[in-house]
């Protein structure tokens, strides 16, 4: 049996949905803090919570359901305007949201709750309960009102059944168990809505033991439910199974005609169903008789009608006014609520990340071969072919761009998460901090965004905890009481820049130096420029916080931040102004998959340099190449440009002795540093799909990957960042010397 996979998948979907909804709820709550009366936001919040409860119920996560139910009840009252949404309540609801997250995670992983989680839950329920006790409309009276409320379409014509319970008929399709759903979970959930007065299990479809397929579902159920829930709430219980189950729900005191229609629609014999309905208390014997009489009357009516146009029984019932308008309106209401649900939850399609990467891979190769075809067509001299290929490659480019954009996500969602962090930290530390976000619409690779979450979180916590001062300190320093953390993202020449800037006290240079010396990171403070001093905070085990708070200051972190950024081929820098604030600048590559490459020839092999790092190309003249001091640098318009010979670096054939040969320097720039790479030939721009190097070559210095050229040849992609670093380090001494020579 492979059903465990099916079940896991269901739980997986629940997990993803719940996490998304919880995230959305947090954002909504934070918005509500500024606009506590926004009805749409309140509705949205209610819907999110309601959906989580609903799906959790389906999977039998009773703890989630029980807890969420309290929150939902409170929100329901907020929605009805009975409870005002003040800051206290928002804080409680934020806590509630966190607790839901804890419960959901524990439920998914089937773990027991830690005692502190349990007590936190109890604390929150106690807080929430207070809001339920605030006098408002009595629940019971309200339901009563609803039943007789003409606007709810529940006023019915014709004789009514005296039954005060909901009646639910379920006939499951055979495949429902195989699909990982079990009726019992629906019943358990149903019992959270009210009191299941009676269940009658129908086993008429059950074959003899030897013939049964024990994975098919053969059972049907007639259920009497005493509940104050609305019809749509009851319907929601069966939302997941509605395609695989015929469901009939009759409200309390439904018209006899509805029962009659129900009896008609169900597969079992009318008499038997009648008996079940009587047994379950849905109908009295008398009511049943009446209903059956009505049915006969309808039959006769249709028999006596023109034989050529025997109307289907349903129509006759409608004509005779026997199906009351509640049925129609309930159906309409259900449609609307379904539509709303669809709008709010399914705005995107989930795609396996694997599938996406393979698509991107193929499209990348398509772009390469299209470039190759274009080249060939040009050299063929066939104009119509050239034209056709040009059209094609334009389309291929479009396909490539839109495929690439599939991987791109806006960073705004990630940014928004930090609002809550800053808010909570502010409350905890008694600081008044604002998080200002800009450039949230900046898109970058999903992988990058995901890996960026933790480092950013750390930087923001640091900024809120250590960076900014308390309102009193700020007033003394002559600043506004409200501190501000700016989080911004923008594009800059093929990179994404993310900045975290606070207007707090700035980094304490003396303290950093003191600590660095104490930890043996440096021997003396002599000659270190400010930015190098600040960079010391990225060293492992470094922390200057006087007191270790539970927020930060344990000395782990900044080095991890740096490592994370490094692993994304990014760079992090820190700028600080004592008394004015600190700014972290993170520079990241736009995507990890395709780059515009500059193809060069070294020896007999092709290499690719990322084009956005190429600044210019110059010729290496003989004089600079054979410098008397042996230094590998040239004078680039008055400044020193160190270079390395890629031929030597990669041990390629030395072509310098060939007649007519000349060396070219590709000037590359990375993070403000320039360096020259000496190559034998410049081959031009070339679109490049980065193929990661296999595990064997993963740690090969100097290469960031490989690519396949149009000709089928493999070319290595040069890791400019690491080479520039190398050049800068190797040549530091020589460059200093050279600087003196140049000037």
């Amino acid at each position: 049996m492979s059903n465990d996979a099916g079940l896991d998948e269901g739980a997986q979907v629940f997990a993803e949905e719940a996490r998304e909804l919880l995230e959305a709820s947090e954002i909504t709550l934070l918005k509500l803090e500024d606009a506590p009366t926004d009805v749409e936001l309140i509705d949205e919040l209610f819907r999110n919570v309601h959906t989580i409860k609903g799906s959790a119920g389906l999977f039998g996560y009773t703890k989630v359901v029980a807890f969420t139910h309290v929150a939902e009840s409170v929100l329901d009252r907020v929605r009805d305007g009975e409870v005002p949404l003040d800051n206290m309540l928002i804080s409680t609801l934020l806590g509630t949201r966190d607790q839901m997250e804890v419960l959901v995670e524990h439920a998914i992983n089937q773990k027991e709750l830690a005692p502190e989680d349990v007590s936190e839950g109890q604390r929150l329920v106690a807080l929430l309960d207070q809001y339920l006790e605030i006098p408002g409309g009595d629940q019971l009276i309200e339901t009563e009102k609803e039943v007789n409320d003409p606007e709810n379409g529940l006023v019915v014509d014709g004789p009514l059944a005296g039954n005060k319970n909901w009646h639910i008929s379920l006939r499951f399709e055979k495949g429902v168990l195989r699909d990982g759903m079990d009726p019992q979970s629906f019943f358990r959930y149903l019992s959270s809505l009210g009191d299941v007065v009676d269940i009658h299990t129908l086993e008429d479809e059950l074959p003899a033991f030897a013939e049964m397929d024990c994975l098919d579902c053969y059972l049907g159920f007639e259920i009497a439910l005493q509940s104050e829930a609305s019809k749509s709430e009851i319907e929601d219980v069966f939302e997941f199974v509605q395609d695989e189950c015929s469901i009939h729900i009759l409200p309390p005191k439904a018209a006899l005609s509805e029962y009659m229609a129900l009896i008609d629609q169900l597969p079992e014999s009318n008499l038997m169903l009648g008996e079940i309905l009587v047994k379950s208390g849905a109908l009295t014997e008398k009511e049943l008789e009446q209903a059956l009489l009505l049915q006969d009357a309808v039959r006769q009516a249709s028999n006596s009608a023109d034989l050529t146009s025997v109307a289907p029984i349903g129509e006759v019932i409608v004509e005779q006014g026997m199906v009351d308008k509640s049925t129609v309106e309930v159906a309409l209401e259900k449609q609307t609520s379904d539509r709303q649900a669809t709008q709010s939850t399914f705005q995107s399609i989930r795609v396996d990340a694997e599938k996406l990467s393979s698509l991107i891979n193929v499209v990348g190769e398509l772009a390469i071969s299209s470039a190759h075809a274009e080249l060939k067509s040009r050299s063929s001299g066939d104009d119509s072919l050239v034209e056709a290929i040009e059209v094609m490659s334009r389309l291929v480019d479009e396909v490539r761009d839109s495929t690439m954009s599939l991987r791109m996500v806006q960073i705004g969602d990630t940014f928004n998460r930090y609002k809550r962090v800053v808010r909570d930290l502010g409350n905890k530390t008694g600081k008044d901090v604002d998080l200002v976000i800009s450039g949230g619409e900046t898109e970058l690779d999903k992988v990058v965004v995901e890996k960026l979450g933790d480092p950013l979180m750390h930087l923001i916590r640091n900024a809120a905890d250590h960076g900014v001062e308390s309102p009193e300190e700020r007033t003394v320093a002559g600043k506004t009481g409200k501190a501000c953390i700016m989080l911004s993202a923008y594009h800059d020449s093929g990179s994404i820049i993310i900045e975290i800037e606070d207007n707090g006290r700035g980094l304490n240079k003396e303290k950093i130096l003191e600590k660095a010396i104490e930890k043996n990171l440096i021997s003396s403070e002599k000659g270190l420029p400010d930015n190098e001093i600040y960079r010391l905070i990225f060293a492992p085990g470094f922390s200057t916080a006087d007191a270790v708070t539970d927020i930060s200051g344990r000395g782990v972190g900044m080095d991890v931040v740096k490592r994370n950024i490094d692993s994304l081929r990014g760079q992090i820098d820190v700028l600080s102004q004592p008394g004015a604030g600190t700014k972290f600048v993170i520079r990241l590559p736009l995507t990890l998959a395709i780059i515009d490459g500059f193809q060069v020839l070294v020896g007999d092999s092709s290499y690719v340099i990322p084009l956005d790092m190429v600044d210019e190309c110059i010729e290496l003249d003989n004089e600079s190449a054979n410098r008397k001091d042996g230094g590998d640098y040239v004078d680039l318009r008055g400044s020193v440009l160190p270079y390395i010979r890629l031929g030597q670096q990669f041990h390629e054939r030395d072509r310098r002795t060939e007649p007519g040969h000349r060396d070219n320097i590709v000037v590359v720039k990375y993070a403000g540093k320039k360096a020259g790479l000496v190559v034998d030939d410049l081959l031009g721009e070339h679109q490049t799909v980065i193929k990661p190097l296999g595990p064997v070559f993963e740690n090969l210095a100097g290469f960031s990957g490989a690519t396949i050229l149009g000709s089928g040849e493999v070319a290595m992609i040069i890791d400019v960042a690491s080479l520039v670093g190398d050049v800068a380090r190797l040549d530091k001494g020589r460059v200093n010397k050279a600087a003196n020579n140049v000037h």
């Binding site: 049996m1 168990l177 019943f187 269940i199 009658h200 003899a208 030897a210 049964m212 994975l215 059972l219």
Partner: protein
């Protein structure tokens, strides 16, 4: 899932005492079904102890219902007793305790 034949089970067409141990869920249903088929042919009177049933879902319930139907149709007697907690729970949920003649403990 194990179906344990208890002492006092004598072939053929005699009394068969069984004890079900383990899970009666969608994961084990097929093997239980296969194990039961020959047993049903060999014996005519059954006493099944459900004390060892750990987890049971709708497939398990269906199986119990079908077993009871089978016995009834063949004129056999079938006694299910000592339902474990999980059996009692689902039997109450489906309201079939009486139907299955579950002698409660």
């Amino acid at each position: 899932m194990k179906i344990k034949k208890l002492k006092g089970s004598n072939k053929p067409k005699g009394i068969c005492k069984l004890a079900l141990e383990g899970d009666m869920t969608i994961y084990t249903a097929e093997s239980i079904h296969a194990d039961f088929k020959p047993i049903l042919q060999d014996y005519s009177r059954f006493e099944i102890s459900l004390a060892g049933v750990e987890d049971i879902d709708t497939t398990g319930v269906q199986m119990l219902l079908a077993l009871s139907n089978h016995a009834e149709a063949e004129g056999h007697t079938l006694k299910m007793d000592k339902p474990s907690e999980s059996v009692q729970e689902i039997a109450n949920l489906f309201n079939i305790s009486k139907r299955l003649n579950l002698a409660s403990v």
